[in-house]
Amino acid sequence: MAKSKVYIASAGLTKIGDHWGKSLPDLAVEASRMALKGAPRVKPQQILVGNMFSAIGAGQEHLGALLASALGLSGIPAFKVEAACSSGGSAFNLGYSLVKCGAIDSALVVGVEKMRDLEPEEVSQALSMAESAEYTQFVGATFAALNGLLARYYMEQMNVSRDELSSIPVIDHANAVTAEHAQFRKAITADVVSRSSMIADPLRLFDCAPVGDGAAAVLLVNEKAASGARKAMTEVLGGQVSTAEFSLYERDDMLDFKATRHAFRGAMQRAGLSPKKLDLLEVHDAFSVVGALSLEAMGFSKKGMGARDAKEGKYSRGSDLPINTFGGLKARGHPVGATGMYQIVEAHMQLTDRAGENQVEGARYAATQNIGGVDSTSAVHVFGRAS
């Protein structure tokens, strides 16, 4: 790859939740405009839109040209990138790769999802499309059910208790209290998680990320285009997208999140950074068990210890490696195709001292991990404070 450094020049996001009065294009445009206004002299040369189910959710495809036109940027290439819940992280990876290799000087990357217009069973159907239509949807498996299977297996194989499993949602909710864009700004206890309604035994309501609408965007620039940016920037140090055997039943070891393991290792190698240097980590905890297995796959916890370590405070605010500093998927919210971009904007906020009460003091390095399917795709990126 070429030597040019790549920066996030500016970013934008909407609050996550019920945007009854706004459409999918409204949300995408809102976040994009915020990102573009942050660096008004930079003209993006390409648009990448991360989105999972605009077709089933809004009857709309062709989001690339739609957004380019809505932003007055017609003429430039524009694409929708779909990789289930890792659509945002995957779109970012493409934008980053194009700028890094010198194909373009700047790119606008947007993640957007509109979930609240759908009935709950329609959301389930849309999410189930992240898995095999022929053998997973066919047997009536919702996405929560697959994660329920995984959670039981994890708890039985690794002797993980209910309270330990609850610890990551508890961290998320604690961090979201002071996060303005978070969907649920309320602290909870492990007891609240274990008494919430059953979704897919043993997973309960508070093990699962909520349904919400939202959009998040960044403007990526190389060193040349960066001269047109004016505010503090974040350097993208490295990134990788990896895939694993598509379905749980195709894997030798269901508890090994191989896509995340490979993506994390690759991203850190490209960044030339030891994982010990990270000051914060945004983890894809769509379900409590997924957060725990992700922390294990990235090597921060030993096998079977992710949830236990979280309970013992290893990932809480004020620890050496705080996770999900604005509430993670569980409390900040999980508008699926946009989630990866929220994580990246949050890393950017932390590394440019814009995180307000959620600021990790002196944070220099951050990583984000964004999963599609049950770790069928994983997009990991590493960021540093621009010097």
Partner: protein, 129 residues
């Protein structure tokens, strides 16, 4: 879904999976390429009809088309040849559904599709009491 399930009827009715002609590994769902040794010499092979539960969950909220069956158990089953099948459990009382329980395959109504109500059939498993 209707044409798709017609096309896959041998998979759904008979648990037709794959066997690698080079290393002998067997798979369900069928594969294009052996996940064990990488060989593309894979052939159709009917799977054994018995196995054990690896893990399971009970669904109360289902996908559209499955409402009438709710609540139901979904299980990951390891067949006797080592292949894994994601399946519904039927005719299996709660107290028998456990990790490690023995199960056998059967064919049942899988779902009723759309407004025309076309019925799709397929494999499900029963806990052997």
């Amino acid at each position: 879904m209707t044409i798709q399930s017609w096309r896959l009827r041998d998979r759904y009715y008979r648990l037709l999976g794959s066997k690698c002609e080079d290393c002998g590994d067997e798979f369900f769902p069928p594969v294009y390429r052996c996940r064990g040794c990488g060989s593309e010499r894979v052939k159709d092979k009917q799977m054994p009809q018995t196995g054990k539960i690896i893990t399971y969950t009970k669904l109360h909220e289902t996908l559209p088309g499955f409402e009438a069956q709710a609540p139901f158990f979904l299980a990951l089953v390891r067949l006797e040849n080592g292949a894994k099948v994601l399946t519904q459990l039927v005719d299996s009382p709660d107290e028998l559904v456990k990790t490690g329980a023995k199960v056998r395959a059967t064919v049942r109504r899988a779902r009723v599709d759309g407004e025309s109500g076309q019925i799709t059939y397929g494999y499900k498993f029963i806990v052997a009491s």
